[in-house]
């Protein structure tokens, strides 16, 4: 009996070694899986809700994922207009911190920052303008008024040309808001062609740049 037990000792040692190695490998794999798992799903959802709310409340009207500079987001405005932000949500845009805060959840979104081009060429009231931005935003049709200030449904804008090249056209009339990417370096000549002479359209040129909106929040 004693001889048999002693002969099994090396086998037992090898067995323990194998089991320990397997346990180590298993813990390593499990640790990696745990580290990779999304453990902040609820907090991430909250952060995304805050980001969506922020863009809805502070975003450029009629645009998706766009903010007009200056952005106007601060702690009190955010908490008042985006209740999901609570007291802890933090917001940064590019390198700038807009609202101090922290949280386990994080939402990142690429947004467009529209900076109005300063200067006297922002108005398209006379149907013509020279602009030097990278995007022109035109509000057409719905704002058409006659010379005395009353609305005139018979007037409409059919053509918009940039540097003589048609970029928008509709024989029935262009209505609504349009963003026109302006080609190359400015300045560019934008010509809005109304059917009447008294139509007024509003237009503004923007310089457009991208920035990452980061929102942190807790569940």
């Amino acid at each position: 009996m004693t001889g048999r037990a002693q002969s099994n000792l090396p086998a037992l040692a090898v067995s323990l070694l194998l089991v320990s190695a397997a346990l180590g490998a298993a813990l390593g794999v499990a640790g990696g899986a745990f580290a990779a798992a999304d453990r902040h799903a609820l907090a991430d959802q909250r952060a995304e809700a805050v980001a969506d709310g922020l863009l809805r409340e502070f975003g450029a009207p009629g645009r998706e994922n766009a903010l007009v500079a200056p952005v106007g987001v601060n702690a009190s405005a955010l908490r008042e207009r985006v209740p999901a932000a609570g007291r802890s949500a933090g917001v940064s845009l590019g390198n700038r911190t807009l609202v101090e805060g922290s949280g386990a959840g994080m939402a990142r979104q690429l947004v467009s920052i529209l900076t109005p081009v300063p200067g006297p060429n922002r108005s398209l009231a006379d149907g013509n303008a020279t602009v030097s931005g990278s995007v022109a935003r035109l509000e057409l049709g719905s704002n058409a008024t006659n010379a005395t200030g009353g609305t005139n449904d018979t007037e409409r804008v059919e053509w918009v040309r940039v540097d003589g090249r048609p970029v928008l056209a509709n024989r029935s009339g262009l209505t609504g808001t349009y963003d026109i990417p302006l080609p190359g370096e400015g300045p560019h000549r934008i010509r809005v062609e109304p059917t009447g002479t008294a139509s007024r359209v509003r237009g503004v040129a923007y310089n457009e740049s991208g920035a990452v909106l980061r929102v942190s929040a807790d569940a």
Binding site: L18, V19, A37, L110, P181, G184, A211
Partner: protein, 119 residues
Amino acid sequence: MRRGQLSVSVLEAGIGMLLLLAVASTLAAGVPVPDEREARLDGYAADGLTILRDGNPALGSAEPAALGERLDALAPPGTRARLETTGGTVGPSVPSGVAVGKARTTTANGTVTLWLWYG
């Protein structure tokens, strides 16, 4: 002739190892390891396409040069982008061996694809 005998301890150890590795493999397989950089770039690319299409839904017919300049201005700092439309392609070639985000959308003029990567 003497038959070879496998030690019961070694047998048990082998079964134990298999059990442990099976549990660990199940755990690892059940939790896919995401490429965080690529997922983030995918999101940026999708956002970028949304911005590019906003106000210019027929992106496929836009002037490639103008689109390229707009794309350069919109790409997050430290990233590069390539846009493929039916009207042409703008931006450098997509490199291999790096995390690349990709988004695709269909316009009235065809499919538009945007790639984004750090570089």
